[in-house]
Symmetry: D2
Subunit: 121 residues, 4 copies
């Protein structure tokens, strides 16, 4: 069992944070660049949520892609490439009795899609 | 209009092939690496199909991810990272009156997920 | 040999266009999202060039990432995620005696990183 | 400053683990799928290292791609798509006085490229 062998040096709480953080980094770098439009956005959100929820210790993933930005897309082709500033994501991870929510959202004052721990028991 | 300015040096048929090929290359490199299981495979197929169908001149995208390979996944976590050898894809592109189907499938004798033009009018 | 079996239905010129287009689509969707700064840009350009040049029929790949946009990055962390509007790329493909250059560059009037055939013999 | 506002609910040690984990998840999902051969492997390793080291709290990234697997590639094209089982990575993160090394390596008994905390002060 991997837990006994590889995760003895961190706490239960650190493990839950660790797994949530991996999944958030994975999500961003797997899906940024995907073509997306106002019509395709529900299927993309669902696929991101279901695929990343497979990772170790992940209970649920909730993804909201900014519809306003998609509606403003004025190029000839009426779609955009997914970017970090369109994404608002919550990854819920759990290890043993500790639950964590890792959040990513674009913070205007930072000009950056910040990932942080929103909740931790 | 981009067509008049940028695509005068190729034929209608070449344009249909060009756009189908771009989309197939895009599909592979956007989605390879995504976590996938026997349960999440329908949502991933749908998202790939809907997102890549947004690209210029693409009428439809049909994706089949190999269920047998997913069922054989025997690691502790019961999912795999999507690889080219799991994918069977048809991208239908059209420019004016010319329709093309670009196919990708894993060819055992080549040990390679080959992309080729399956149909062209 | 795959050429005899899978590529009988297209011309030599179409094959060169096909392979160049696949590689351009691949390049965009593999590398968009990568963290990049004014200091790391040379190594990223080189890796993109060398990795995509491995694909079938590709002679050379030339990538220029827009330094001005990187210098303007004013977030706290002084790097950006690579986007299509930072990229100017030429992919040189060849099949038998036909050489093609596929170009991608951001076209302001289209608000879109356009891929097109820049040269073809 | 983002630290005061968003990271008050976790410890210094948890923050170092959090940032290392994000970067490891990012690395895997950004670069898996990239074409790689025995000749291109040094430039790819360097670009991965330099790009991911840009992320918050990351001091260094060390990537080793398995040469043996590349030498065994016997398809017609003599390259492979990068997969998790070729990668051995160490991400060194630091927040204030706490240093952490996050490791990813393919564990045969798990049939899985495991990410774990290898060192923590």
């Amino acid at each position: 069992m991997s837990d006994q062998k590889y995760f003895q040096n961190i706490t239960t709480r650190e493990r839950a944070i660790f797994e949530g953080a991996i999944t958030m980094g994975a999500l961003f770098h797997q899906f940024v660049g995907t073509p997306v439009s106002i019509d395709s956005v529900p299927s993309l959100e669902k696929a991101i949520e279901e695929s990343l929820a497979l990772q170790p210790c992940i209970n649920a993933v909730k993804v909201k892609i900014n519809r306003e930005m998609l509606e403003k897309a004025e190029n000839e082709y009426e779609y955009l490439s997914l970017t970090g500033d369109m994404l608002d994501v919550r990854v819920s991870s759990q290890y043993q009795d500790v639950k964590v929510v890792v959040r990513m959202q674009y913070i205007k004052e930072l000009e950056y899609p910040l990932m942080y721990v929103e909740e931790v028991d």
